[in-house]
């Protein structure tokens, strides 16, 4: 609370020093807890027990990371815990190549290898195999993706196209959030916390065995986030809260088959100040909007292992979301059926193929700000893919060929092939390269939407009437296309050190622009339409570096650096990307019961598209910020932690949403958390 009012530099420094002092005292007060070094003899265990043991994947993980011919980064459960983040998008800041900015207390803009946007539309996000990418605007509502972080197994982030396996819209990257197997979350966990920005949050989970080979868990979480401040200093009115609950049950039917059923349900209230534009209020009318969000999903999966070289899975899910805000009221129901089969053909070929059917139907309420016409629409997507991983020279040279073939209702057939080559001149050194094609299919808004962007007030003649500028969807709007060229190098000498360098050159074609249409006289105002069209091309290129060093058992250092350049044609209608970004994390465990984590981040200056400014742009300064976390586990059951976020400034601006809201700054925050496990 102290820090929120600490706007003055000196005062801010005093606040910071005070916090350090508190941390120091806390550190001194901690005492060592003796370790219970129990080591059971594995040879006394039965086969059933052995089959249940999770085996070390030190080599497996290293192999997993270093054997893929793609730019992949994995956030582990430990990384999530040690970072002190309370949501997924903030965790993604540790990934090189990703561009994460918080727009206000309850909105994020996330993109990969490009300028970000609240409506970033080329990133595919999956939670346990369920796509959370919305076809309405081809983006992700990050604020409603509230998985229970304690139960996340890992988050895999693939930068660059993943369309061959994942399909259209996996253009700039794929984010795969995977929660733990129900067997891994046995017992109870209760956590409770609160602070200046993360005002109050709680989560609880209980997992139990439901019979001999069946495990389940249920969880519930809720939080209340404080409002941020507008750049001018007044409160932004963007406080919010979401409540979510869910379950996961999985059962092993026999040696070969296992089934899983999981589901979530959520409901939330998100406050925001929306600038409502109309011919009558050309300067916009600030409205306190109470957005209501809700949704739920149910996922069923059957997996069958036929042999060490063959397995298949069948997954079906239903997902429902509803969002009611000042400028849009949308309901959406989706059904998705997916089959995948993986097998080895001979010694050299590892083949994976699959087929998917997806049905989605929506219902939009008529709204003067964002009109979707027709209000309801149902779409079907059919797709199939095949990929062959060919071992040209055993453990040395591997070629991966594949393509996705799909049919959608907007653009018809789409083919998205890729070719990848991995060369290991030495087991510790790997080089990879790829060429791939991906498309971003039109969103509902680009096809059927009419959005009021801006109202120019009447001035002296000749313009005596207000001009209403609208962005208008067009039925012949086509897919945006990307051809990506990538080259990467990995050095993994042992499991304590890894260095990953990825470079890319992206060639975008048919990219989105808006074109001026002929103005239309509408009686009391003049309507100027801007029609979506595909008249733009761009090149982006960059380098991403990720290094991890487990220096000693009690100190792990992680460095991520990204360099990104966009080369646009004149008249680009996209924001400017941060040229340099860096993240440095230090996870120190001075004693087994004590964690100290430091996370420094730097993001270069950017500019975002902002319709309310004179040149349609808003320049944002670069920023350097610091998060700290101190945790103490007095017993095996309890953990107390104290986290400071964005400590270096009382507030800073990260991004401005294109329209409807005003520049809102992220504030320094501090929170405490107690976790009890049993």
């Amino acid at each position: 609370m102290i820090y929120r009012s600490a706007t003055d530099k000196n005062q801010a420094y005093t606040g910071f020093a005070k916090m350090l002092y508190v941390l120091a005292i806390a550190a001194v007060l901690c005492y060592t807890v003796p370790l219970s070094a129990e080591e059971s003899d594995l040879t006394d265990l039965s086969i059933e027990d052995l089959m249940g043991i999770k085996v070390t994947s030190v080599s497996k993980k290293a192999q997993y990371l270093s054997d893929s011919a793609a730019a992949i980064f994995v956030i582990t459960n430990e990384d999530l815990k040690r970072s002190g983040v309370t949501n997924i998008p903030d965790a993604l800041r540790m990934v090189p190549g990703l561009n994460v900015a918080r727009i206000d207390s309850n909105k994020w803009a996330v993109n990969s290898r490009g300028a970000t946007s609240r409506f970033a539309d080329k990133l595919l996000v999956l939670i346990d195999g369920r796509s959370v990418y919305t076809p309405s605007f081809s983006g992700v509502y990050w604020e409603v993706q509230n998985v229970m972080l304690e139960d996340v197994e890992r988050i895999e982030v693939i930068r660059g196209p993943g369309a061959t396996l994942w399909g259209a819209n996996a253009v700039n990257g794929v984010i795969n959030i995977m929660t733990k197997h129900a067997k891994e979350t046995q017992g109870g966990l209760v956590s409770l916390g609160g602070g200046s920005e993360e005002q109050a949050f709680t989560s609880a989970r209980y997992g139990a065995s439901l019979g001999k080979k069946t495990y389940g868990r249920i969880y519930a979480k809720g939080f209340k986030g404080d409002e941020f401040q507008f750049s001018q200093g007044s409160d932004a009115g963007d406080d919010w809260g979401i409540r979510q609950g869910g379950f996961r049950v999985e059962s092993k039917l026999n040696a070969n088959d296992s089934v899983k059923l999981q589901g979530d349900i959520y409901q939330g209230d998100i406050n925001q100040q929306v600038t409502v534009l109309s011919p009558a209020t050309p300067n916009g009318m600030e409205t306190n909007d109470d957005t209501e969000v809700s949704g739920g999903n149910l996922v069923a999966r059957w997996q069958s292992i036929l042999s060490s070289t063959s397995e298949f899975s069948l997954q079906a899910y239903y997902d429902r979301t509803e969002r009611k805000e000042a400028y849009v009221h949308e309901k959406r129901n989706s059904f998705d059926l997916d089959f995948q089969h993986q097998f080895s053909a001979g010694n050299r070929h590892d083949i994976v193929w699959g087929a998917r059917y997806r049905h989605t139907s929506d219902d939009f309420a008529r709204n003067p700000l964002v009109l979707i016409d027709p209000d309801t629409r149902s779409d079907d997507l059919y797709s199939a893919f095949i990929q062959d991983e060919i071992s040209l020279v055993q453990n040395r040279l591997q070629l991966t060929l594949g393509s996705k073939f799909e049919h959608n209702n907007y653009t018809g057939h789409e083919i998205q092939p890729s070719i990848r080559l991995l060369w290991a001149p030495h087991p510790n050194h790997k080089l990879w390269t790829s060429i791939s094609r991906a498309v971003r299919t039109p969103s509902r808004v680009e096809h059927d939407g009419v959005i009021i962007n801006e109202v120019i007030p009447p001035s002296s003649p000749p313009a005596v009437l207000p001009v209403v500028i609208k962005t208008v969807g067009t039925p012949d709007y086509d897919s945006e296309e990307l051809t990506a060229y990538e080259l990467g190098y990995r050095f993994v000498p042992n499991h304590t050190f890894s260095l990953d360098i990825a470079t890319f050159y992206n060639d975008y074609d048919n990219a989105r622009t808006v074109e001026l249409a002929t103005p239309v006289f509408q009686g009391t105002y003049i309507e100027q339409a801007l029609c979506f069209s595909n008249n733009f091309s761009a090149h982006t290129y960059g380098v991403e570096v990720a290094g991890t060093w487990q220096a000693v058992k009690w100190l792990k250092l992680d460095l991520a650096y990204s360099y990104l350049i966009s080369d646009f044609e004149d008249g680009a209608q996209v924001g400017k990307e941060p040229t340099h970004q860096a993240s440095f994390r230090s996870a120190l465990t001075p004693r087994k019961d004590l964690d100290l984590d430091i996370w420094l981040r730097y993001v270069d200056n950017v500019s975002s598209i902002y319709v309310a400014s004179d040149n349609d742009r808003f320049d944002i300064d670069g920023y350097l910020t610091l998060d700290l976390r101190l945790a103490w586990r007095p017993t095996a059951h309890w953990e107390l932690s104290l986290v400071g976020q964005n400590l270096l400034e009382s507030r800073h601006l990260e991004f401005v949403q294109e329209s409807f809201t005003r520049p809102t700054e992220v504030q320094r925050g501090i929170y405490g958390k107690v976790t009890y496990q049993f």
Partner: protein
């Protein structure tokens, strides 16, 4: 210019505080660490091998006396030796397990159990399997081609858990009888 000095100040502040905190924490350093709660893959695999031995019946002629030691041969790299060494001296009914580490395919013939690890050259693997073909030797491997090459049991990893597949026909040809308990837990492959 102003921004630069501010940045410098900020960096200075971070450095000072980081050093301070590090010093403080180093001074309270404890001495014990136990990080990896998960089990080493080969420690678990070795325990599997012991269980496979317990649930397999060898023909009487395999042993001269009821107390003759049980020979487990491990054909693999140095890295897995430690895990298998722990099996040495373990009891299987009245017999003691005698673990040997071999490097040549020819040495496989007198074994009762032969474990071939994944790092082994494919040609050596084939030679070793040929050397024991039709003999009462339980062959256990961990490569995807192991069963097709004529192995009996193959261990494999899926989502960080171990599974095993068994080719019953090969087991019969090796004159081995696998217990129904083992077969129930295995993924049965090959001709049924």
């Amino acid at each position: 210019m102003k921004k630069d000095t501010e940045l410098a100040k900020r960096l200075n502040r971070i450095c000072c505080s980081t050093v301070f905190l590090l010093l403080l924490l180093f001074s309270t350093l404890g001495n014990a660490f136990a990080f990896d709660q998960r089990m080493g893959e080969y420690a678990v695999k070795a325990a599997f091998v012991l269980n496979f031995a317990r649930y397999t019946q060898w023909p009487d002629e395999s042993f001269v006396s009821p107390t003759e030691p049980f020979k487990l041969c491990v054909l693999g790299n140095k890295a897995i030796e430690e895990a298998f060494q722990t099996l040495n001296g373990k009891k299987i009914e009245s017999r003691t397990l005698d673990v040997r580490f071999i490097t040549k395919a020819e040495d496989a013939a007198p074994c009762n159990i032969l474990f071939i690890s994944e790092g082994i050259d494919h040609a050596i693997l084939l030679d070793a399997l040929a050397a024991v073909k039709g003999k009462p030797v339980l062959t256990i491997g961990e490569t995807k081609t192991f069963i097709n090459s004529g192995g009996v049991i193959n261990l494999f990893n899926r989502k960080e858990r171990l599974y095993f597949e068994i080719n019953e026909t090969t087991a019969q040809k090796q004159h081995l009888k696998l217990s129904s308990r083992l077969l129930k837990l295995a993924i049965i492959v090959g001709d049924k």
